[in-house]
């Protein structure tokens, strides 16, 4: 009798404890990029892997990497450069999903301005924000396309003011995200245009999912389950984009449905690069090597470590 009681109790506690509590910090306010994760949670893909997931909005990739490194959140969504630069300074973080293998960074303008190739930028005014990575990586784009940067005037503005400065013709183009500012212009009824860095030889790996290296050692199984659920969430969101956005709308009713959907469709295009193909979260060495090289050249990265120090594919396979 006692044994029976104990085994019942044991079974009970197993059910109660089988769900791992996990928090996942996004890089920014909920938008198209984050919809698949909310969809996956809504559909129970994480619960099916024994994960009790909390999704949190973020305030910039750099910020997200810091809170994950500090252990306030289990996982984070941040661009590869933030992960690499922070890790190279000794933070205990590593990417476990190379999610967007093409960067969404782009030169965005009103189509009527007529910027169709990088060469068209010469003689134009470009809105950039002090200290953001776009300005530095633009130098890579300029170098690859042999632009004369002395003919491009850089207008320094606050991030939130970039779109306004283009709309008000204080600048001819801005450096931003093909899945972001592009649609802010479109929403105002104006035809936007985007030159993606990735299409013009200056690709770096975009968004990655990161966690603490320590967790990779101590709970590899948890990470494998989380990565599997996340990849499944993206696969399913690709099949049902409308339903995915509706799941996000449940959490945040004042999202603009159409813009969010548009953004997510761009993010689907960015999942792969020329080098990576197929599997969601799988990084390609060529992309990561180029990322490291560009960061060393244009953003002062100092490291002798190989790409596998910053990203691992071990959880994506199988």
């Amino acid at each position: 009798m006692k044994a029976l009681l104990l085994s019942v109790l044991f079974a009970f506690s197993c059910v109660a404890w089988s769900q791992d509590k996990v928090s996942f910090r996004m890089n920014w306010y909920l938008g198209g990029l984050h919809v698949p994760f909310y969809y996956g949670k809504d559909r129970g893909f994480y619960a099916a892997e024994g994960i009790d997931l909390t999704l949190n909005e973020g305030r910039g990739s750099a910020n997200t990497v810091q809170v994950v490194a500090a252990g306030s959140d289990t996982f984070g969504l941040a661009d590869s450069s933030s992960v690499i630069l922070t890790a190279s300074k000794g933070a205990d973080v590593k990417s476990v999903m190379s999610l967007l293998n093409s960067t969404g960074f782009a030169v965005i303008s009103m189509a009527s301005t007529g910027i169709r190739t990088p060469k068209d930028l010469e003689g134009k005014r470009l809105a950039v924000s002090p200290g953001d990575p776009l300005g530095q990586l633009f130098m890579a784009l300029a170098a690859v396309n042999k632009l004369d940067t002395s003919k491009i005037s850089m207008v320094q503005v606050d991030p939130a003011a970039k779109v306004v400065s283009v709309l008000e013709k204080k600048a001819d183009a801005l450096l931003g995200g093909a899945d972001d500012q592009f649609f802010l212009i479109k929403q105002r009824g104006i035809e936007p245009a985007a030159l993606r860095f990735a299409d013009y030889g200056a690709n770096i790996v975009g968004m990655t999912v990161l966690t603490k290296s320590e967790l990779i050692k101590s709970k590899p199984d948890l990470i494998r389950r989380f990565v599997r659920a996340s990849a499944r969430s993206w696969e399913e969101a690709k099949k049902n984009p409308g339903a995915a956005v509706d799941a996000a709308l449940k959490v945040k009713p004042d999202l603009n449905r159409q813009s969010t959907l548009d953004q997510m469709m761009v993010d689907f295009e960015l999942l792969d690069s020329k080098n990576s193909k197929g599997r969601i979260g799988m990084g390609a060495q060529a992309d990561w090597d180029q990322t490291l090289e560009l960061l060393k050249k244009y953003r002062g990265l100092e490291t002798k470590e190989p790409w596998t120090t910053f990203h691992t594919n071990e959880f994506v396979g199988k």
Binding site: R25, Y29, N56, E57, G58, R59, N63, Q66, V67, A70, S72, D73, P159, A160, V163, V164, L167, E168, L184, Q187, R188, P253, D254, N256
Partner: protein, 261 residues
């Protein structure tokens, strides 16, 4: 109430005129909505999203109140200790003066690394910003003591506690309240700055979001709401002051004949 209305009629008229000119100018000059929306648009957009905005306002209000009350509870007794203990004055006061010089807002980003996105970093920033004015004003209040009155009170045989309750505290209150009001005004600023740096709810969070989406009417709506919250906290302190020190000159300006507005 009608008396209040009569006295404030001038101020209300100025506000109304201001909004009217704003509305007409924006519409007449065809200024784009994302640059400067007309007041009616701000109001109608606010009504559309009042649910989320009011929920966020409550979050921010809690941060303000918790941080501010903590500051009051810590700083007034601390000021007393510094005034009445030679050791505290020599050892602790210089430290406080030095700490006051540190730009508190500049260390806000550190709070994310230490405490994450939650309630604690907001509470701490509100506490830090409102703490110093209250401490400094309270110390000044406790020190500004009329020695003759104290001597006189002692001749009546009053002991330590009676001296404190009847003379020291009442004499210090006007200055303490000045500090409380400065602290109250700073507390709303502190909560918003803390939310700017890192948050996933609250008015500062919404403000940045709407700003990023170019939803300027909502940005204005939130700025107005934040001002109202700050004003409410300020007036709550002033109301308290009226009850605590009705005899003080600062409370007598509304007497008939002296009221200007």
């Amino acid at each position: 109430m009608s008396d209040w209305l009569r006295r404030r009629a001038g101020a209300l008229a100025i506000f109304l005129l201001f909004f009217l000119v704003w509305e007409v100018a924006v519409r007449f000059l065809g200024i784009k909505e994302y640059l400067l929306p007309p007041p009616t648009k701000i109001w109608s957009e606010f009504l559309k999203r009042s649910d989320i905005v009011m929920a966020s306002a409550w979050v921010t209000t809690q941060e303000i109140l918790a941080g501010y009350l903590l500051a009051v509870v810590v700083s007034v007794p601390l000021a007393m200790a510094i005034t009445f203990s030679r050791f505290m004055e020599n050892a602790v006061y210089p430290v406080i003066v030095f700490l006051q010089i540190i730009p508190k807002i500049a260390i806000a980003p550190l709070f994310i690394i230490w405490f994450g996105f939650g309630f604690l970093p907001k509470l701490l920033l509100v506490f830090l910003l409102s703490f110093f004015p209250i401490v400094v004003a309270s110390i000044a209040g406790f020190k500004a003591l009329d020695a003759d009155i104290m001597d006189f009170a002692r001749t009546t045989g009053a002991g330590g506690w009676r001296l404190f309750a009847k003379i020291r505290l009442p004499q210090a209150l006007p200055q303490i309240f000045t500090g409380l009001k400065v602290g109250a005004a700073l507390s709303a600023t502190a909560a918003v700055v803390a939310e700017f740096v890192a948050s996933d709810k609250g008015l500062g969070y919404l403000l940045l979001q709407y700003n990023g989406q170019l939803e300027t009417p909502m940005v204005f709506a939130i700025v107005v709401l934040l001002s109202l919250i700050g004003l409410a906290v300020y007036y709550a302190v002033e109301l308290l002051e009226r009850f605590a020190i009705p005899w003080h000159v600062s409370q007598q300006r509304d007497e008939p004949g002296t009221a200007l507005v």
